[in-house]
């Protein structure tokens, strides 16, 4: 019986140039891309991981969505660190006499219910939102990927227990949990809010990290490394982590946006941040009382909040598209 003459480099030529879309071409491309991780060609994990990231980076650099959202985020980071660059006033310098007044020279966004300058407060609010978002995301990502990754890697009883624990956390509505846990907190710092988000947010990342570690573990080259007697820690660090990281990063980026929105929601419900902390959530919440007469107080911080959340969601979307070749 003659052997098939199919060449080993099936569809390579097309895949290498990234042509996509057409049925026949796209099919062979998808096949090649899916095969590559465990492919018999012996493409090493490092090479594969590196090319995944460099391919993604090449894609991202020419993606307008990534560029725009990246610039917005960069701008937000800069004004969070140096708000005085664009706002000369003091967010806590308020004059009740000017309460609810509209736009006037030097105060483009007008004044809020306590007579504070809305523009200055909106600028200073970025720092709070970004601090909460970034720290909560870091906490969630680290805790979630360590717990989920270990569960996925070792499996067994530890995995079973962890899966049930994540189920338990998933069963509790987030806003509800926030109300219960934060209603008795009197501290006006950002720490209780961040702590709460990490406590209730880690299962989301843990589930994803677990799934992608299990997938990575099943790749042929990882099996081969195991067969060759690679130690657990070496396999985790060198072979699995680089490949399991992508989905975690994508979800964490999008989650960053949702944590910023969650902080605002909790502040609106009165259990998040508290004055004198300057936060968009607090400002929107207090503005909602005056919304019939002075909607500008609500629109500016709400707009800033929406743009920030949007920027992170779009960034996450762009990164996912770049890292997931199947969706191209």
């Amino acid at each position: 019986m003659p052997e098939p003459i199919e060449p080993y480099e099936e569809g390579r030529a097309i895949a290498a140039t990234g042509a996509g879309g057409a049925t026949d071409l796209a099919l062979s491309e998808a096949e090649t891309l899916e095969k590559t991780p465990g492919g018999p060609q012996g493409t090493g994990p490092d090479k594969k991981a590196r090319s995944l990231w460099s391919d993604a980076w090449r894609d991202l650099r020419r993606n307008p969505v990534f560029i725009i959202s990246g610039l917005v985020i960069l701008f937000l980071v800069v004004i969070s660190i140096w708000p005085s660059l664009i706002a000369s006033g003091d967010p806590l310098d308020c004059d009740l006499a000017k309460a609810q007044e509209g736009s006037q020279p030097g105060h483009p966004f007008g004044f809020n219910g306590q007579g504070c300058d809305v523009y200055t407060r909106t600028v200073y609010g970025a720092r709070t939102s970004l601090t909460v978002g970034v720290l909560a995301t870091l906490g969630v990502a680290v805790l979630g990927s360590v717990l989920g990754g270990l569960a996925g890697f070792f499996g067994g009883a530890w995995d079973g227990v962890l899966s049930r624990i994540t189920d338990v956390f998933f069963a509790i509505p987030v806003v509800l949990g926030g109300l219960v846990l934060l209603s008795v907190v009197t501290s006006s710092t950002v720490w209780p809010v961040i702590g709460f988000m990490v406590l209730l947010g880690w299962p989301q990342i843990s589930r994803i990290a677990r799934g992608s570690v299990i997938t990575a573990k099943q790749n042929d080259y990882v099996q081969a490394a195991r067969a060759l007697g690679a130690s657990n820690s070496r396999m985790l660090l060198r072979h699995i982590t680089p490949n399991a990281l992508a989905p975690v990063i994508v979800v964490a980026t999008i989650a960053l946006g949702t944590y910023i929105a969650l902080e605002a929601t909790l502040s609106y419900l009165g259990v998040g941040l508290k004055p004198p902390t300057v936060s968009w959530g607090i400002d929107i919440s207090s503005a909602s009382q005056y919304v019939r007469n002075a909607p500008h107080m609500l629109l500016w911080p709400a707009g800033a909040l929406a743009i920030t959340v949007l920027a992170f969601i779009m960034l996450g979307d762009a990164v996912r598209d770049a890292l997931d070749p199947k969706l191209r």
């Binding site: 049925t23 796209a26 509505p173 109300l179 209603s183 929601t265 609500l298 929406a306």
Partner: protein, 307 residues
């Protein structure tokens, strides 16, 4: 199939007890369970001690939890801050939130899936780009901002709806709040359907259906849609529980006398029994909704049914 259902039911049990225990601990550790029992003032020490004894609060927490759960299984959810049995509050508020959730889910199914199918089929065209941008905007504006804006515009400025929903909360008054409650999920359903359709459109079996000479409509409705909707149905089913528990914000904005508002009041007044009781029911609904999803999944996908 039967074994599958039983396995799922058994898996629910530890999650149910875990979640209720977690919320019980949170309420007990964080708050003072008797704080709300003496009206707005703090209880004097003697009364407080007596109350603690009466409610069994001097016992260890795990014992309290077991006693509480024992009572729950006989239908006794305790008393709310205003002296009303918690079950009575539930009977008033759950139907309202259920109606609100039904409205929201209908929006997700009708609008979300239709938009998702259209954009998935026309991927890359102007319709697709427009809808995709819209979903991004909806996703990035938190529900409470959407709610406040909708209330301001439709309720106050244009007078299309009443800014606050009446206590009876009929379906007609819940349409706009339901849309607000659904908004984020709606955007998500649209995107999920779009991705799923666009992915399955390239599937081999769709190519086979075309090669069989089936009309385009039949290829889409019978072959493409059925497969693409499996993950969407899963999401929407799981969302039932999430929406009921997440209606706090919407209910507060539109003053809807539902579960969220009762819970909010319970938390503000530190009424342990109200909070734990409501959350217990919500967790149960969440789990049952997930079970429903699993069953639906098996109905839609024979590969699971016969696994």
């Amino acid at each position: 199939m039967g074994r599958y259902v039983i396995r799922r039911l058994l898996q629910m049990i530890p999650v149910f007890f875990g979640a209720t225990l977690l919320i019980f601990l949170m309420v007990n550790v964080m708050g003072d369970p008797i704080a709300g029992l003496c009206g707005d003032r703090a209880c004097d020490p003697a009364t407080a001690a007596q109350l603690r004894k009466e409610f069994g609060l001097d016992k260890p927490v795990w014992q309290q939890y077991l006693t509480y759960m024992g009572n729950v299984f006989t239908g006794d959810f305790g008393t709310a801050f205003n002296g009303q049995p918690v079950t009575e509050l539930m009977a008033q508020s759950f139907p309202v939130t259920l109606r609100l959730t039904i409205v929201a889910i209908l929006f997700e199914i009708v609008i979300g899936i239709s938009l998702g199918v259209v954009t998935g089929l026309k991927r890359g065209r102007p319709v697709d780009t427009t809808v995709l941008l819209l979903t991004l905007v909806v996703l990035s504006v938190p529900t409470f901002v959407t709610g406040l804006l909708v209330q301001l515009l439709l309720g106050v400025k244009w007078g299309w709806i009443k800014p606050a929903v009446s206590p009876e909360a009929p379906f007609s008054e819940l349409i706009v709040p339901g849309l607000v409650l659904a908004s984020v999920s709606l955007a998500y359903v649209t995107r999920l359907t779009r991705t799923s359709i666009a992915e399955n459109k390239r599937a081999d079996y769709v190519r086979t259906a075309v090669a069989k000479g089936l009309p385009r409509r039949r290829v889409i409705s019978r072959h493409l849609l059925r497969n693409s909707l499996i993950p969407v149905v899963t999401f929407i089913g799981a969302d039932i529980g999430a929406l009921m528990g997440g209606a706090i914000v919407t209910e507060r904005i539109f003053n809807i006398h539902g579960v969220g508002l009762q819970l909010y009041n319970g938390i503000v007044r530190q009424s342990t029994q109200t909070v734990v009781g409501f959350v217990t029911i919500l967790v149960l609904i969440f789990l049952l909704a997930n079970l429903l999803v699993d069953l639906l999944y098996a109905v839609l996908d024979p590969r699971i049914r016969y696994a």
